[in-house]
């Protein structure tokens, strides 16, 4: 865990992992946190982009 880790990130990791029944071994925590931080930075780029109600998800289901 680095100084840049958002304060809630480790707590989120633990809660989310517990919620879906995914054990995160002690040896893997740091790596998972690093990757969550990377994902959060990329997600910020996606989430800040305004989308309208016409912007449906790309995949279209055909029965």
């Amino acid at each position: 865990m680095t100084d840049d880790t958002p304060p809630g990130m480790a707590a989120y990791m633990d809660s989310a992992a517990a919620l879906i029944g995914l054990p995160v071994a002690a040896a893997h925590r740091a790596g998972v946190l690093t990757n969550l931080e990377r994902a959060a930075a990329l997600a910020a780029l996606v989430m800040e982009f305004p989308l309208g109600e016409q912007d449906d998800a790309a995949p279209v289901y055909t029965p």
């Binding site: 992992a17 879906i20 790596g31 990757n35 994902a39 997600a43 989430m47 982009f49 449906d56 790309a58």
Partner: protein, 473 residues
Amino acid sequence: MTAAPHPASATATATAIAAAVRAGSVSAVEVARAALYRIQAANDAINAYTTVTAARALAAAAAVDRAVAEGRDPGPLAGVPFAVKDLFDVKGVPTLAGSKINRERPPATADATLVERLEAAGAVLTGALLMDEYAYGFTTENAHYGPARNPHDTSRICGGSSGGSAAAVAAGLVPLTLGSDTNGSIRVPSSLCGLFGLKPTYGRLSRGGTYPFVGSLDHVGPFARSVADLAAAYDAMQGPDPRDPAAAGAAVALVAGSLGQGAHGLRVAVADGWFRTAVSGDAAEAVGMVADALGATRTVTLPEAERARAAAFLITMAEGANLHLPDLKRRAGDFDHATRDRFLAGALLPAAWVQQAQRFRRWYRDRVIDLFGAVDLILAPATPVTAIPIGTEFIELDGVRVPARPNMGLHTQPISFIGLPVLTVPVHRPGRLPIGVQVIAAPLREDLALRAGAALEAAGVAAAPVAKGFADA
């Protein structure tokens, strides 16, 4: 003028092999034996193959020879030795997908659809090829099986995740291999190993009988040392397949006959913005050479390409992780250390991020498709740099030190994100490490990209010679 290479030699093309076998001037068995010998001699040095199907290859070659002897059509790819990334099902072999965990799976009971189709065309399967674990990598540095080594310099990476597929062709072991591409895994190894690689339109070629990674983004496609070879394989593999929902209605549009139409009249532009950032001198030079040869004087902007790459990254993490969730829960330690923490993190992403990424994908797709109203082909780097030494953790791009591995796919990711067809062309720079350029077309216009590739090849701007040290086998 150089004499054409013997059809059983390392430098023979698939097209030449098939012509010679069909004409009865060389036997498929002789070609297969020679390929198997080269594989055995070279595999320690480049680590391309994870399974060699020698008995099957010789039996298939013998069947081709019988067809020729009996006056039956042996197929357009008669006797052409090929191999496939080890996420393609090969009957009788457990589909490893670069993992340790999959060793425990029962052997595949049927071949992948594309393996069946290539065999039906007369091609001869020689085995399965090394990849990054579960396709989650751009370098093919596999903790379980070792790194794939670049035949042009075996201290360097092949790229990934289809590193073995690229190594086998670059070393002249076989003239044709198959790989897969989710965010760059055909285009990156094509670039670093100096090959022609085709990532077709999403849904064009069937993924039936392949081990998946990201259903939203996975593509499959061929590697070869000539555009004609690529086109012949691509044509033999086309057609709908109910095994793959994305390819259930795949249209057939044969290309081999139109390659000679050339690139004259095609409107070609160079992608700017994101595609001009984090580009080494080598990559910029390569794009410039292709642009000059195709008369591309203008640029085009793919809007929000950085966001597209970010969205592709999130979708990849989430879908890849969900696929592996049972194993992540039970045996995370059995994953490659390079994939494990990324998959674990991917399983925890908020739905809001992933759903928004899929909605942004629709917006981005619509804007990029609009661009093809005014251009036929868009050029972009295939990799930011040439092949880096195996084990490299950081590279410098635009004066900034960044992690090497995820940044290999910087310029490929925004394109596969929306399933556009891409031909990677290896730019001919004698004495230098290989590097490729993406030739990007509108959906279902593989024909235009291949025509441009053929023109570049004819002009000597693009070439894929067998790596020095392997060419005399």
